[in-house]
C-alpha cells in the first residue's frame, strides 16, 4: 500500500479508510469493466497536468494496470479515489525520473567522435595495398626509394653510390613514385588490368608524361577501358592543372554549350579575335554534337599551341561505334540522324586543319586546328 503515503491529503484519508474497510470485509470484488470505465477520467487528469506529453497515454494505461492488479483489495465505493491517488503517484514517479535524468545528463556526455566501424578495416586495406605495391617494384627501385624517402639520403650521395648524376637519380625516383601510385591503386581496387596497354597508359598518366601519353593514345584508352577510366581519376587530379589545356567531358546537350564556351575562352587567350572566335566555337559545337548524337560519351580537349606556329587545337574523341565510311561522312549533305549533314564538312570548313580517325567499334577522334594569324 505504497499509494497511501504518496497520495494527497484529500484522497489520503478516504483511501486509508477504504483499505481498512477492505480488510474487514473481504469479498465483493471490483468488476473489470468498472476499472475500464475510469479511463476517460484518468486521461482528463493526466492531460490536465501533462498536456500533450508523449508519455501521457502510457501513464493512463499504467494506472489502469495498477488499479486492475489491486482490484481484489479495493471496495467498489473506493475505486475512484484509489485510481486518482494512483495516477498522481504514477505521474510523480515519472517527474522524479525525468528530473534525475536531467541532472545526470552531463555525465553521459562523451565529447569524442566515435570511429566509424569500418575505419580500422579501411586502414588495414590501404596498408596491405601499399605493401603489395611496394612489393611489385624492382629491388633497385625499392632500395633507392627507401633510402631517399624513408632514410632521408639525398640524391647526390645516392648518385655517388650508383655512379650516376643527381639529376638522373631524381628522375628515376620520380618514375618509381609514379609506378608506386599505379601499383597502389591497382592493389587497392584489386584490379588486374584487362589489357597489356593498361599499365603503360596508367604509368604515363601517373608520371604526367604527355609525350608518352600521346604515343600510347592514352586519352582514347581511358575512354575505352572502364578500369583505367576509373583508376586514372585520382592520378589526373594530382597532376598540376594546366592553364593551356581545357578538357570538357561530353555526354549530354548542355555539354555542347559548355564545350563551345570553353573553346571560345581558350581561343581568346591564344590571341584569336572577332570572327575567328565564333568560327572555333561553331566548329566545337558541331563536333561535340556528333559525340552526343552518335557516341553518347566522349570528351573535347582544347589546347593552346606555342610552336612552331601559335594556334588552338581541338581534339574531340569518343569511344562510340565509329564511322564506317569516313569519306561519305565528310561529304556535304550526308546525314544519319535527321541533321543537315553539315556537321563534319562544316567544321572542316571553319578550321584551318582538320583530321579525322575512326575505327568501327572503337571510336572516333577529330583533331582540328585554328592558326593564329601573324600580326603585321
Amino acid at each position: 500500500m505504497q499509494v497511501l503515503g504518496l497520495a494527497s491529503s484529500l484522497v489520503d484519508d478516504t483511501v486509508l479508510d477504504g483499505s481498512r474497510h477492505h480488510r474487514r470485509t473481504s469479498g465483493t470484488p471490483v468488476d473489470g469493466t468498472a476499472v475500464a470505465d475510469l479511463e476517460p477520467m484518468l486521461r482528463r487528469i493526466v492531460v490536465a497536468r501533462l498536456g500533450d506529453h508523449p508519455a501521457a497515454e502510457d501513464l493512463v494505461q499504467e494506472t489502469l494496470v495498477r488499479v486492475l492488479d489491486a482490484r481484489d483489495r479495493i471496495e467498489p465505493r473506493m475505486l475512484e479515489p484509489y485510481a486518482i491517488a494512483t495516477v498522481r503517484n504514477v505521474m510523480a514517479t515519472m517527474w522524479r525520473a525525468e528530473g534525475r535524468e536531467e541532472r545526470n545528463r552531463h555525465r553521459a556526455h562523451d565529447p569524442g567522435v566515435p570511429d566509424p566501424a569500418d575505419a580500422h578495416l579501411l586502414e588495414e586495406e590501404e596498408r596491405l595495398a601499399l605493401r603489395t605495391a611496394v612489393g611489385r617494384l624492382d629491388r633497385d627501385e625499392r632500395a633507392a626509394l627507401v633510402a631517399h624517402d624513408v632514410d632521408g639520403q639525398d640524391t647526390r650521395s645516392l648518385a655517388e653510390e650508383a655512379g650516376s648524376t643527381a639529376g638522373a637519380v631524381a628522375a628515376r625516383l620520380s618514375r618509381t613514385r609514379a609506378r608506386l601510385r599505379v601499383e597502389y591503386l591497382l592493389a587497392l581496387e584489386q584490379v588486374e588490368p584487362p589489357t597489356e596497354r593498361c599499365r603503360s597508359v596508367l604509368l604515363a598518366v601517373s608520371a604526367a608524361d604527355r609525350r608518352r601519353q600521346r604515343e600510347l593514345g592514352a586519352a582514347q584508352h581511358l575512354l575505352e577501358c572502364e578500369d583505367c577510366g576509373r583508376l586514372s581519376v585520382p592520378l589526373l587530379r594530382r597532376a598540376p592543372a594546366r592553364d593551356d589545356e581545357t578538357r570538357v567531358a561530353i555526354s549530354a546537350d548542355p555539354d555542347i554549350v559548355t564545350a563551345r564556351r570553353a573553346a571560345r575562352a581558350v581561343a581568346a587567350r591564344a590571341g584569336l579575335t572577332g570572327a575567328d572566335l565564333t568560327l572555333v566555337a561553331t566548329a566545337v559545337s558541331e563536333v561535340a554534337r556528333n559525340i552526343v548524337r552518335f557516341a553518347v560519351q566522349g570528351e573535347v580537349v582544347i589546347e593552346l599551341l606555342d610552336g612552331p606556329r601559335p594556334g588552338v587545337r581541338i581534339v574531340a574523341r569518343d569511344a562510340g561505334p565509329g564511322i564506317a565510311d569516313l569519306e561519305q561522312a565528310q561529304r556535304d549533305g550526308y546525314s544519319t540522324c535527321a541533321g543537315l549533314g553539315l556537321g563534319l564538312p562544316g567544321a572542316r570548313r571553319l578550321m584551318d586543319d582538320f583530321d579525322i580517325v575512326s575505327t568501327p567499334g572503337q571510336g572516333t577522334t577529330v583533331s582540328m586546328t585554328k592558326w593564329i594569324p601573324r600580326r603585321t
Binding site: 568560327l279 541533321g339 562544316g346
Partner: protein, 130 residues
C-alpha cells in the same frame, strides 16, 4: 524555361510575336523554344513572328536548321517569320559553315523586322518584301 532566368521571352505586340533569345541555347532548349513559339502562334492568332537572335554567339547547323523549321511551321500556321539581329561574326561563320536561314527573311534589327512585316502584309504601302 521552367527554372532559373528565362532563356527566351516571347512577347506579343498586336498580332506580332516578338521572340528574343537571351542566351546560348543547347539543342533540347532550342527544340523547346520551337515548340513554345509554334504553340503561341496559335494561341495569339499571330500573323507575324520576329525572332531576335542578337544574343547568340553561335548559330551552328542545328541552330540554323531549327530557325528554318520554326519559320516553315509558322508559315504553315499562317504567320510570316523574320529573323533579326544576326551578329556579323555569326553571319561569317554561317557562310563558312554552309548553313543559313535559307528562304527565311532576315532584317538588321527589331525595327527593320517590324517594318518588313508591315510591308509584307501591305505590299502597296512600301518597298519590296525581301
Amino acid at each position: 524555361m521552367n527554372d532559373g532566368p528565362a532563356l527566351v521571352s516571347i512577347l506579343r505586340q498586336g498580332d506580332t510575336l516578338v521572340a528574343s533569345v537571351h542566351t546560348a541555347l543547347d539543342d533540347s532548349e532550342m527544340v523547346r523554344f520551337q515548340e513554345d513559339l509554334v504553340r503561341q502562334i496559335g494561341e495569339h492568332r499571330a500573323r507575324g513572328v520576329i525572332i531576335d537572335v542578337a544574343a547568340l554567339d553561335v548559330l551552328d547547323s542545328f541552330g540554323s536548321r531549327t530557325l528554318r523549321t520554326i519559320a516553315e511551321m509558322a508559315r504553315l500556321r499562317g504567320a510570316l517569320t523574320v529573323i533579326v539581329g544576326i551578329q556579323p561574326a555569326v553571319a561569317y561563320a554561317m557562310v563558312r559553315l554552309g548553313t543559313g536561314p535559307g528562304e527565311v527573311p532576315t532584317a538588321l534589327d527589331l525595327e527593320e523586322g517590324l517594318a518588313h512585316l508591315a510591308r509584307a502584309r501591305d505590299p502597296g504601302g512600301g518597298g519590296s518584301v525581301r
